[in-house]
Symmetry: D3
């Protein structure tokens, strides 16, 4: 096949695009390596749940030892790529910073695991269909989401750019739950079903909070600086302890939902709510006559 | 790299966590084997739609024969692992139970396929963008969802624990549609777009029902037993024949939506509705003045 | 294992199903080939973002040349399969039509890329959490969606059946955003979070439009022809330039949302709206007393 | 890295080389497809020896049916490529010729298998270390060689160019045994160890012949035509029934080794030998004094 | 394609072949699992030579621990399959026998490794082209051969059928060196180049022996029992310590080559040789006139 | 399974072995990367012979450009590893040396290709079974061997340690032909069949030389230095132009075979031979009576 204009297309596509500040030459974190990193972290945190071959009691220590070495190698590599991608460092400097971050990350893994198990416990306590925690750990999407969020949040707090977002996007794609890595979330956090849940980067969520599918903890609007760029200030809600939010509700802006409140489904909420509140949608309308056709 | 505290992390992570009843040593169903099982079932049910090499008329019987043997092997294996994982059986007993279940499952496959084709037919009849059923079978996510649900529901009714949930979660991850394997759903069931749809485990859905994206058939609340554990009683809606529910509406609790009713979008509905009803959201408010900024 | 009724199942499943017009013998587009086609197109459009090995300045032209040849080969093959699948052509005729389409598609790639970069720019300008466009291109799901939509829409406008839908479904599965390939969308189009967004096939979206998660641009109802089949006429909304729609709102039917309007979240909207309008949900109800239990 | 002369290398290497009649544009048989073809043929001929999953009695017919269809598809494809590669045909003509060859090849498979089993039987009868035929079929390299030779010879006799040689070279690489596909070999043919065995294309080997490692049945010289090209005439030995040839012996030229003869090892033999002969190497020399050093 | 006689071929090929005692239903050792087993054993014996990621000093113990567990699992599985294949056991009995063998095999690994390193040392001491032992361990085929032989011989001495032969055949295919697993070979054994070397099952090789390519330590003939089956008695040579045999020499029968002897190349030797002997081939003949042509 | 002595085995195996100078911590060339490097070099040298997708005339330059970049990257990486493995360099110094070598290697590729094509031409001219050069390039093992040798020899002459040997060993394993990378071989070099051929590192082979299977150009003995280590001095034969050596002959020591000589098969030759000589093995012995049994 001879494409008459293929040469023009070739020339157009092989020109680098610099108008928008796109760079083609930097290192980038690699999605496959991040996926392997997360799979290895999951294996260390939930040993035996995803392996065909089961480690014996004798050999579990060896498996974890090998896995931690592998995790450290992958984390250090992807952190270094992220620092370069973000333009923060070039090679010589990055090494020691990536080493430090990796060291702190590995040391934090047991605490991350403890938090993750509180989330699983919360799910178990709030779902009548669950018979034991093993079933939750094996098959509930919220475990995937919280594993990714808690790892990403740890890296975010250690100052790693870009990589945390890639980690939470992997969970977003798999589960439909989009938690920004910078969000602050307490222990015993449960989400049921979860598709469509969005938690913004400056949201603050207390302990024992429960969300259902389609809940948004979002921004109402955002300020722009003198050059018209949006500014990254606190703009997402605060949910205090033991708040429950039902499906498809949007809570927007830097509002505070007081502890022990219940927010019903399909609500659009942009103001503060005192503790122990119960909020539901206005009454739906019943149309007296059926007008035919498939629609309404 | 020498991690000063890596030994501590290693010790912490290689300790099994028994506080919450987590077991590390049992067999578990394996996600990759389940994926292969479902792909083989799909090939038997929709022959020629997903294969590069097309079977001739002469050899179709051979292909199906080989596939059924492979399905039986995988189902028996994963059912056995599920029985062990759920603590219901150890090896010798499990064999005959897994054998019985597998036998009944294979015998049920033609009926499952007939139901699945009614679903495809319903989609075709309700989507103006569709030109023929082959297009639906090839590319519509609802086919993936209903294949997984109908297989999972069959296994659930045969008494298999855990595995049905894994099967529906696979479809949930791929499509954003979360149908509990214990839900009861009639023939000619259609979902359009579907992301965010949730159908709870005690929901009962009639024939010729149509749902749009974001619809929840959920629980309003749940009872707890004396020890505070939630109890698995009927708590999700009943939708009678020919009900249509539009996008992002939540129907919660053990309510009944009478046949031939239409429920509009973005409604929060927690009460019974008689047949032939039409329900829509209360009127939105038009704010008289535009206040500037990107938000509202 | 001997299945007593396995022979019956085998016979039932190896019979082709012709009742519904299902054909088993035609060619079908292949999902794996389409995935490879899209990955190669992405590499040509966003060079260096997803590769482990980085091309030098000298060799970038060679890489793009090899990739374009590979894209052309895959597009031609899958277009031909799609034409056959849709019953529009058999082999000899199809060749020249598939060749023509492929030629025009390759020539259109630079323009598609320019549009895609306006979308990335729009995201960057509307998200306070973004520091530069490279981060958007690397990790935001909207890039995946718009890459797939803009490629699928190009193929749709060239008259290719089935394949465009497969391409947008791949993005739908990965992101929860469901844009019909026939929809018309202007430049600088941004979606944030996006899970649950649905844009119907006859929707018309202007320039600089912004949508949040869960927004539906859907049909209110549809006409049927004399035989009861739904008819494919304009039935989805028109959004003029600079419209913003917040999370979980449904806009249904052939209504027009005037330019510079803002539609709040969780609204059910089925009527025209003039330019510069601001629309929000009716006020939620605050229930005075808390009734206990986990529900509401 | 900037290679100063890389442009020159690039130009030199991307020029096609036509001096020697090398063509770059024709179709070629593909080694991976041939490997898959041979693996499938082996599975049909020796069912159960190389599979992890064992077919039941019920399903063996289905497995063989699927495998034969796959073999036919691969054979037809590779035969067509071979005909094109050899310049014998272009596409339209080739189809029917490749179809005919494939049909005859599939029909010949049972006879090929019967011959192969006589070879296995002969090995078993001549190796004191063997306990049963299953062990031979599972692990003896001569089975690989004879499977490849007998398939290649069948294709050669059906007039297929190039492909037979590729098939025997695969076995040559795996076992060190190089049998030309055009050679004529009777039933019950055994080779022990075999590395270094060479059997030329015009060799004729009777029934119940046994060779050891390193035996050459080669050409002594060859005639050239007026243009200096070698001519393909009978130039390799004839071994009559029940001949045994020991290790590392070379028999060269169109000589006849009479039936029931034994040729000892390390012999260089270029003349006819009557039936029932026994031929051994001339006596080695014993050097009276040891001269030191590691050599001789 | 319709094959007229394909049904006949199908029937012929799906009939099991029982004439020769071929069994289709037993378990068989699996070549891929054996390959993985050998790769893991090699990694444990030669750590760091074949891995991309290098273990730190801290983690080497963990790596070896994980590898040994994996080796034990694979060995036990393949030993069990071999016992079944050989008809020696069915499932319940086999378990404990396979367990015992596996236990003894793992305990023997350090001794096997010590022997293997003496072989590498012997190669280094006899090849002027070698600069250090690491080069030998990394790239010399004799290391592959001796690793496989010494592992296979260990399993053979533990009573495992079939599997040892599969292990040595893997090395035979890769290197052209065919050592029977039952052969007895001392320490510091070296082979240079090696293609075509054959060492029979009852051969006895002392310490510090060196062989070159093409050397056969074979049988001259073999006895048959009353039913005509060959009998497995000592029939291969004995080479005492420090014997060197040059290329392509065949030593056949139960003869003894005395210690410190040197046997030249291309010799056919079927008698005992006293210690310190030097044996070479009879003088070649120089033909006085050149007769033209390419041959001789 | 509890291995009583597994801890001892573990300890023994995880101790590094330093007695023999084995190092565990250095970088090593990686066999898989070398295999990919050689496959890419082959594709550049013989374009279209081993690819399923054929490059068009327009895109051949692009393919070669991409391949050369890939080759350069792999060569530089493996050369650097080899320099480290051989203890010649650590990281900073190695970079520039590896860069220089890579640059010279890429520049040498066209010349290497020209030589390789003379070898193919020589094979074609000496094999009556060949119809054209494409068949040789596609399927003759000598092409594999000479490609590997000529690449390895180029790297050897550029001073690269270890890697050349790995490259020739790959060909040795695939073909049974063992050519040392340091050997000197002229143009138009042909080997037929080839299994068992050995060419030592100090051998010098002229132009238009032809060898048959099993030919050894080896060392007769070797000198040792004062510490008993063998010394790497010229010790292999010199074959002048147009020499032919028949199968299984061993020519040993620093002897010279004069131009235009023919050496018959199975000869053991350790002395100089003048030009135009013809040498054959001494006459075999015919034993007058057949003594029965299977042997001789």
């Amino acid at each position: 096949m001879d494409f008459e204009n293929v040469t023009a297309a070739l020339a157009a596509l092989s020109n680098t695009e610099e108008r928008l500040g796109i760079s083609h030459h930097t290192a980038t974190p690699n999605i496959n390596a991040v996926a392997e990193m997360m799979a290895t972290i999951r294996r260390v945190m939930l040993p035996g749940f995803f392996d065909i071959e089961r480690a014996s009691d004798v050999s579990r220590l060896h498996h974890v030892g090998v896995d931690i070495e592998h995790i450290a190698r992958l984390v250090r590599q992807q952190v270094a790529y992220s620092l370069i991608f973000a333009g923060r460092h070039d090679c010589p400097e990055r090494c020691s910073e990536a080493d430090d971050i990796t060291k702190q990350f590995v040391e934090a893994l047991p605490a991350v695991r403890d938090l993750l198990l509180t989330d699983a416990e919360a799910v178990m306590l709030n779902d009548p269909a669950v018979s034991n925690i093993n079933e939750v750990l094996l098959s509930y999407p919220v475990i995937t989401v919280m594993l990714h969020y808690r790892v990403a949040n740890t890296l975010h707090r250690l100052g790693v750019p870009v990589l945390p977002r890639i980690i939470t996007e992997m969970a977003h794609s798999a589960t439909g739950i989009d938690i920004h890595p910078a969000a602050t979330i307490g222990h015993h956090f449960a989400i049921d079903h979860g598709t469509g849940v969005v938690i913004g980067g400056t949201a603050v969520v207390g302990n024992h909070v429960m969300l259902y599918q389609g809940v948004t903890l979002g921004a109402r609007n955002f300020e722009r600086d003198d050059e018209g760029h949006p500014v990254d200030v606190p703009r997402h809600p605060i949910l205090e302890d033991r708040v429950v939010v039902y499906s498809n509700t949007s809570i927007l802006g830097r509002v505070t939902i007081g502890h022990d409140s219940i927010i019903g489904g399909n609500v659009w909420l942009t103001r503060d709510v005192p503790p122990h509140s119960v909020i539901v949608q206005g009454k739906p309308i019943e149309r007296p006559t059926f007008t035919g056709g498939a629609g309404i």
